[in-house]
């Protein structure tokens, strides 16, 4: 019973060079992504500096690699991208059309897409729970589809909002990863995508109920932040944020945060399962533990990269790669925490509830590093204040 049963589409163990396994559809996808990147470069290269050219190339290659590694995104990104392009085309060069054109007003304008994302994530959460409690594969499949749709809405939001920024003013537009509102949507998107990957990789949809809970919590925050604080309004970048480092530092960080959040929710599921709650509904205790480990490993790698990128940015902006600023220090604490977690699992061979508890506590530490520092401590890193 320890075998969680891999999906059959997985590449066979240790197969010879990976490109031999690529199919026509893989090449078409790569061609499509590279063509899109080419068009973007041709149209906008004058507005970008050499680092941004590198980031564009890197993003295109990463998308190709991601599509080859995980097949469903070969359909997902082009579709979501086309929807986003539709929204951009409907805007033309008039921001006011967002309130008059039907498709923009109700679906494709960035704020409409964000609201759809919120609704779809809530629905997906509810239906994942139905699926879990009733052991219904149909409900699970629907919930999974809704999660894909919500992630698609986030992609539309991202690109359309990017465009809207430039419609407000040529000096206002920027990639939407610059404030707490924007990164919260990014958090939802990345956590959902990572979950969807593991769902397929481990051929079980029964973890969704727990993982989507944390996404729903983030969605709840987004709604409060939008309606109570009008945080969704596009603000121009202050000088400290006018840097290409932001474009890579922030997304890398959120892969880390998303992974840690997911690991913590799996930890919760594991703790419940070991106490006989929902045990027969959830995947096996070992599977939960393994996905948790995999999530933390990915998260740790990306969090390390993000922290290093942050240090390099700080060396450009603040006069030193490390200033013991509260945000930096808490990033170090998070890093040390997961470093210790991985050590005891890999070297000491720990398993079970203690690691589950630890990953739940880890999320609390991570949340403090992400939100608490901005709310309670002062420092250089004060862009994302509530």
């Amino acid at each position: 019973m320890t075998n969680p049963g891999y999906a059959t589409t997985l590449p066979q163990a240790g197969n010879a060079p990976f490109w031999r396994g690529l199919k026509l559809s893989d090449h078409l996808y790569a061609l499509f992504i590279l063509a899109v990147a080419g068009v973007v470069f041709q149209r906008y290269h004058a507005a970008m500096d050499v680092y941004e050219h590198a980031i564009l190339a890197g993003s295109a290659l990463s998308l190709v690699a991601l599509g080859w590694f995980w097949k469903p995104v070969r359909l997902f990104f082009p579709l979501a991208g086309l929807l986003a392009l539709g929204g951009i085309a409907l805007y033309g060069d008039d921001l006011g059309r967002g309130q008059t054109a039907f498709w923009l007003k109700y679906v494709l304008a960035s704020q409409s897409a964000a609201m759809w994302m919120c609704v779809l994530f809530f629905l997906a959460t509810a239906i994942y729970w139905v699926g879990l409690l009733r052991r219904s594969n149909t409900a699970d499949a629907i919930a999974s589809g809704l999660t894909w749709a919500a992630a698609g809405a986030a992609v539309v939001w991202f690109f359309v909002r990017w465009y809207e920024g430039y419609l407000i003013g040529p000096d206002v537009g920027h990639v939407p990863v610059s404030n707490l509102y924007e990164v919260f949507i990014m958090f939802c998107f990345i956590t959902a995508m990572m979950y969807l990957y593991y769902e397929q990789r481990f051929a079980t949809r029964r973890m969704g109920a727990f993982v989507l809970l944390i996404i729903s919590a983030a969605v709840g925050f987004i709604l409060w932040y939008t309606f109570d604080r009008q945080a969704h309004e596009i603000q121009p970048l202050i000088p400290a944020l006018q840097s290409w480092w932001m474009k890579i530092h922030v997304p890398a960080n959120f892969v880390g945060y998303g992974a840690f959040a997911m690991a913590a929710m799996l930890g919760v599921a594991q703790l419940l399962a070991s106490r006989g709650i929902l045990t027969s509904h959830l995947p096996s205790y070992e599977t939960l533990g393994e996905v948790m480990y995999k999530a933390i490993a990915v998260g740790f790698l990306f969090f390390t990269i993000a922290t290093i990128l942050g240090a390099m940015w700080a060396a450009d902006a603040w006069g030193g790669y490390w200033s013991w600023d509260p945000k930096e220090t808490w990033a170090l604490i998070v890093w040390l925490n997961y470093a210790a977690w991985l050590h005891v699992r890999l070297v000491k061979g720990w398993r079970g509830d203690i690691l589950a508890w630890w990953s739940v506590v880890g999320l609390l530490v991570t949340t403090f590093a992400f939100l608490g520092v901005n709310m309670f401590l002062s420092g250089l890193h004060s862009y994302g204040t509530l």
Binding site: P4, R161, W245, G319, H343
Partner: protein
């Protein structure tokens, strides 16, 4: 003998994982202190915060600069030491592992492995071996053939980089810490412990008077200091904050600030901070010109110059001194410089004017708070990404303190541009007696010429006892003409007016109120108060006419706007009694001279830290995503044994083993079948 075992035990402890994990935990907890308690603040503010009793022990513990405290550095040292020992301890084994195929594994131990399978071999040994070798090579395994007593063994392995990952990641920690140490202030701390260097604690001394012990030469290996300078000036030293004082770092060059630029977006947020500088090398005299922006430092001779702050650099100001009593017909002119002090006499009193910062822009959010219950409006807002904020630049302001001979100070915040409210214009002046208090603003109404002159004339008349009977006479005459009072009552009415004017001149509305509180029964206070206000409102009109007459000006035609001007004047006169001083300084002009703050750093450890970072990422990647697998195929006439091991025991291990076992099973069974699925 004993010593040896103790040393051995210490080595075991220091290189153990238990120790490393405890150290990580301790470091994490210690780091928290520095995030909760703001670091590197002036020592006086800590003394105020903690009181004398706690200030000393906290200082001794190094809590004001945790990350450079001795105990923290020692902990980091232990981390480096422990990690190095850990590498030292595991290195031989890892190298052996990387090189070795473990071909000496005994048949018995292969059979005892978790993943092993024996298959009946139906083809010749040599054919099976060749096919097995092909399979292993195709799977990316390197292998070695060993002839053993009981058959032939293929020992294969893949993913040795996984073991290197361990080395990379742990060496990275050491490299990063060494890099950080190079850039830290450890040498300086040691020198100050040994008494070679000494912190300067006096706050306002010129550089020339600072002792050599507090100066650091340009050859200093690493430093991180700040420079603040006004436009047009040149500096060749930077300031290093250190505990209760500072050091002066002499730079290998001199920086001249030609111009500082600041730009704003239409929404008021800052858009650009940039300094045009000229850096002249002291050794070669070479001049480097450049612009330093946030995120775009200028690097000269290995020293990076960063834009870090900006402010007022001491701007010449032009002020008009108005007498609240309006005694002088024209304001005096006063020349001053921001961020500087100057003596000033008022009413025979020696005072000091201490000018603070000139702020050329004051961008304020003028939007009223949206109503909480307005759901529809919120839904509408949530759909729009364009902020519809009403921000406004309310213009330049200057802040200053007026200090008397006893040392008592009153602080003012005066705006240069008129502030508009409902079609009327005012000059705003804020006043406070303590730094913690918010400013209380007085609105000085402007006349038709946009000058405070009209108001000051009215103020003068209201403060002039000689004018009161004339004002009363005119107001009473008007009242009688309008039939508001009877002729018999006129004398008494005039007396009441004079009395009210006198009372008002004593202390404004507050004086009238205190009279009401003291002398009038509670139930009549409101009615009597209303009467006073009406009397004043009537009288101020004639006071204004009189003031214009005295200044040889034609009376103003009465209208709504003029009426409001008069009412505002009454309010402002009343407020002047709480203003603290008898004069108002109206800013009338300035020549802006900005200052820019730079950070200058030399950090020789940076390349090491980056190298360590690269190693760290590589190491982590190798450790997590490369699987170190080993396969043993042992072949004997009629029998084939497959054993498999991986550094990870998870579902993928099972799957890989299944694949190998299927492949080898099929090659053992027939000699022609295609192994690939």
């Amino acid at each position: 003998m004993r010593r040896l075992s103790f040393g051995r035990a210490l080595y075991e402890l220091l290189s153990s994982m238990r120790f490393a994990i405890s150290l990580l935990t301790l470091l994490a907890i210690a780091s928290i202190i520095g995030t909760v308690l703001q670091q590197n603040q002036p020592y006086t503010s800590y003394a105020v915060e903690f009181g004398d009793f706690w200030f000393r022990p906290f200082e001794w513990l190094g809590l004001y600069d945790v990350y450079h405290a001795g105990w923290f550095i020692i902990m980091l040292g232990f981390l480096v030491g422990s990690t190095s020992l850990c590498i030292y301890r595991h290195l031989p084994g890892i190298l052996r592992d990387i090189r070795s195929y473990r071909e000496q594994a005994a048949l018995k131990s292969l059979r005892a492995m978790a993943h092993q399978q024996e298959i009946a071999l139906q083809q010749p040994v040599e054919g099976a071996l060749t096919q097995a070798e092909q399979w292993l090579t195709a799977q990316g395994y390197r292998h070695k053939r060993v002839v053993r007593d009981e058959g032939v063994m293929l020992a294969a392995k893949k993913g040795s980089l996984q073991r290197l990952g361990y080395l990379f990641a742990h060496a990275a920690i050491v490299v990063i810490c060494i890099g950080g140490l190079l850039d830290g202030n450890l040498p300086l701390k040691l020198q100050s412990l040994l008494g070679i260097k000494e912190v300067e604690t006096r706050n306002t001394v010129p550089v020339s008077e600072i002792g050599e012990k507090s100066k650091l030469t340009p050859s200093n290996l690493s430093f991180r200091g700040v420079i603040d300078m006004p436009e047009g000036e040149t500096r060749d030293v930077a300031w290093l904050n250190a505990g209760p004082g500072y050091y002066v770092q002499e730079l290998p060059f001199a920086i001249k600030l030609n111009k500082f630029h600041v730009e704003h977006y239409s929404t008021g947020q800052p858009k650009l901070f940039a300094s045009d500088i000229e850096v002249t090398s002291k050794a070669s005299g070479k001049v480097t010109k450049g612009t330093v922006k946030v995120n775009h430092p200028l690097i000269v001779d290995g020293v990076a110059i960063y834009q870090s702050s900006f402010g007022d650099g001491g701007s010449p100001l032009k002020l008009a001194v108005w007498d609240w009593l309006g005694a002088a017909p024209r304001p005096q002119e006063l020349a001053a410089v921001s961020l500087a002090s100057q003596a000033f006499r008022w009413g025979g009193q020696p005072l000091t004017l201490e000018f603070g910062e000139l702020r050329p822009f004051n961008i304020e959010n003028l939007e009223a708070e949206p109503e909480i219950s307005d759901f529809g409006r919120r839904m509408q807002d949530a759909r729009q990404v364009k902020a519809d904020k009403k921000v406004k630049n309310v213009g330049p302001s200057i802040q200053f303190k007026v200090r008397d001979a006893q040392g008592q100070a009153v602080e003012y915040l005066n705006y240069l541009s008129p502030f508009e409210d409902g079609g009327r214009f005012y000059l705003m002046s804020g006043m406070r007696r303590t730094v913690a208090a918010p400013f209380a603003f007085v609105r000085i109404p402007l006349d038709a010429e946009f000058s405070p002159q009209g108001f000051m004339q009215i103020s003068a008349v209201l403060h002039d006892p000689a004018a009161w009977p004339e004002i009363a006479r005119r107001t009473a005459a008007k009242a009688e003409r309008d039939g508001a009072i009877s002729p018999a009552y006129r004398k008494e009415f005039e007396q009441s007016l004079v009395w009210v004017l006198q009372r008002f001149a004593d202390g404004g509305f507050t004086a009238l109120q205190s009279f009401l509180d003291e002398r009038v029964p509670k139930d009549k206070q409101e009615a009597v108060g209303q009467t006073y206000i009406k009397l004043l409102q009537g009288a101020v009109l004639d006071a204004a006419d009189l003031s214009r007459q005295r200044a040889n000006l034609a009376p103003v035609e009465f209208n709504d706007s003029y009426y409001r001007f008069l009412m505002d004047s009454l309010v402002a006169v009343s407020a002047s009694f709480d203003y603290g001083h008898g004069f108002y300084l109206q800013p009338v002009g300035f020549e802006e001279r900005k200052s820019s703050g730079f950070q200058v750093t030399r950090s020789p450890g940076q390349p090491l830290v980056y190298l360590g970072s690269l190693l760290l990422v590589l190491g982590i990647f190798c450790m997590f995503y490369i699987r170190e697998n080993r396969i043993w195929v042992w072949v004997q006439e009629g029998r084939l044994l497959l054993a498999f091991s991986s550094n990870r025991r998870d579902a993928q291990t099972e799957q890989e083993f299944a694949a190998h076992s299927a492949a080898l099973g099929s090659l053992a069974g027939t000699d022609k079948e295609e192994q690939h699925d």
